[in-house]
Symmetry: C2
DNA sequence: CAGGTAAGTTCCACATCGTGGAACCGTTCT
DNA sequence: AGAACGGTTCCACGATGTGGAACTTACCTG
């Protein structure tokens, strides 16, 4: 099927604007279209809220609709604010690092990351993407996909990120089922060598799972003495408390 | 000027998908268009990266391009990760809260917010928007807009958020000029009663100002004994160190 | 296992919608 | 005052998008 010319042109304009605010004439040069065509694209995009004109007769920039549509942008304005106190509490309780993530296609996208203050040089996971099957957060997000989706996930090659990464569909299906059952999942060195992680699902305002919170730390000391079950249950409980607050807000 | 039908329809589909993943038939019902029309929109949006199909023949969801285009999404994947250690350090040095923000049209959008651990009930600014003229971050972002843009900002009514909000264009222009000169700006109770804030501009990989970092705290104790200049210079220096790292990455 | 149902995909005759050159308007500069 | 530049608007024209219908695939039921 061929494309849709106006959609291609509109997104060319949006991509040009992602480099910084620009006027009609400069945008026309960048996307190699007549000024009247670019003006019409901008007018239509402005009506949608995808661009805004900084002042009448002036430059255009990307608009708020894109934050509303962007999974990372949307989570950033609401879910992150709700989640932050729970992540802080998990850091306090476990003395490890905690984070929030969402699913993006075949990846986990880490939106927020909390460490103890003074860990200034920590490697922050904010903005990282990892394949779903390689990290606890991904397993709990897959646990709440339907069977066709899970099967669909296996139709493309699964990346072997470390030597410990599980890439056998049958084994992953079992782990996903276990995650569904107990409400949390663990991984160890499957995405980052030497790091273990536990995650639990967060329901959004619609009641559907739309994020995960996790705690991770060096495998040599985490989870340590409390054991996987006690720590897993603590993360699960925190995720449920966060989910309840999300549901109460609508 | 009339709109562009295909752009209107494409964004109708994107808005429908922002409620959750959906198939062609359901989307057709939601946007009240024939299945073939919706299929063509989806195919074009998929080619752009604005949507992805979870598996062949299955449901569609919003795609990674939207995070790439979204100002909040883009900052969330790169700038936030770079900024976090600097915010942590500012919290440590000032014993107040620190944050990162970007400009969105006439507003400041707060993307990240760091407090000391254990302040579990803190009111987090992540996701908040405030008009540019009411908060230090906004003044430093306006300080790096050109004169036409600043004049354009004044063509629309300026919101009186608190009784202390400065809404006189001449006075704002002076403050913006001062911010440009000294490299930081202060506000006190202009956006939130009883809160003072100091901000400095952050340059992105292109060398242009694209964000601000700030520290804020209760006005009765912040900035306290070090004084506005010493604290302002500290924030400015942190912003410059962050800017240097951003520039080095490209 | 055959038949029915539903969802996604593809085709193509048709006409509606998007195109882009040109003119216009306002602002800035010399 | 005139030139230059950028944004806006108009409209004759034809290229592109439309949507009904048919097709394909997968799943469910008796």
């Amino acid at each position: 099927m061929t494309g849709v010319q106006s959609i291609e042109r509109a997104f060319a304009v949006l991509r040009a604007l992602s480099l910084g605010p620009e006027g009609v004439t400069n945008l026309a040069k960048q996307v190699d279209l007549p000024k009247s065509t670019v003006a019409r694209m901008l007018s239509a995009l402005e009506a949608e809220g995808a661009v805004v004109q900084r002042e009448a007769g002036g430059v255009y920039e990307l608009g708020p609709l894109l934050d509303d549509l962007s999974p990372a942008g949307r989570a950033g304005t609401h879910l992150m604010r709700m989640a932050r106190p729970f992540l802080n509490e998990l850091v306090f309780v476990t003395n490890e690092r905690a984070g929030l993530s969402i699913r993006e296609g075949r990846d986990v996208l880490f939106l927020d990351h909390v460490s103890a203050v003074n860990e200034v040089e920590v490697r922050d996971w904010t903005g990282l993407r990892m394949p779903l099957h390689t990290i606890a957060s991904g397993l709990v997000l897959l646990a709440h996909a339907d069977a066709a989706e899970l099967n669909g996930y296996f139709t493309e090659p699964l990346e072997q990120v470390t030597e410990h990464t599980v890439v056998d569909p049958t084994a992953i299906t079992e782990r996903v089922a276990a995650a569904r059952g107990q409400g949390y999942a663990w991984t160890n060195s499957e995405s980052v060598d030497g790091i273990s992680s536990v995650a639990a699902p967060v329901r959004g305002t619609t009641g559907l799972v739309e994020a995960a919170i996790h705690v991770h730390g060096p495998a040599y000391r985490f989870p340590g003495e409390p054991g996987e079950q006690l720590v897993g249950e603590a993360v699960k409980e925190m995720a449920e408390r966060l989910s309840n607050q999300m549901l109460r807000l609508d």
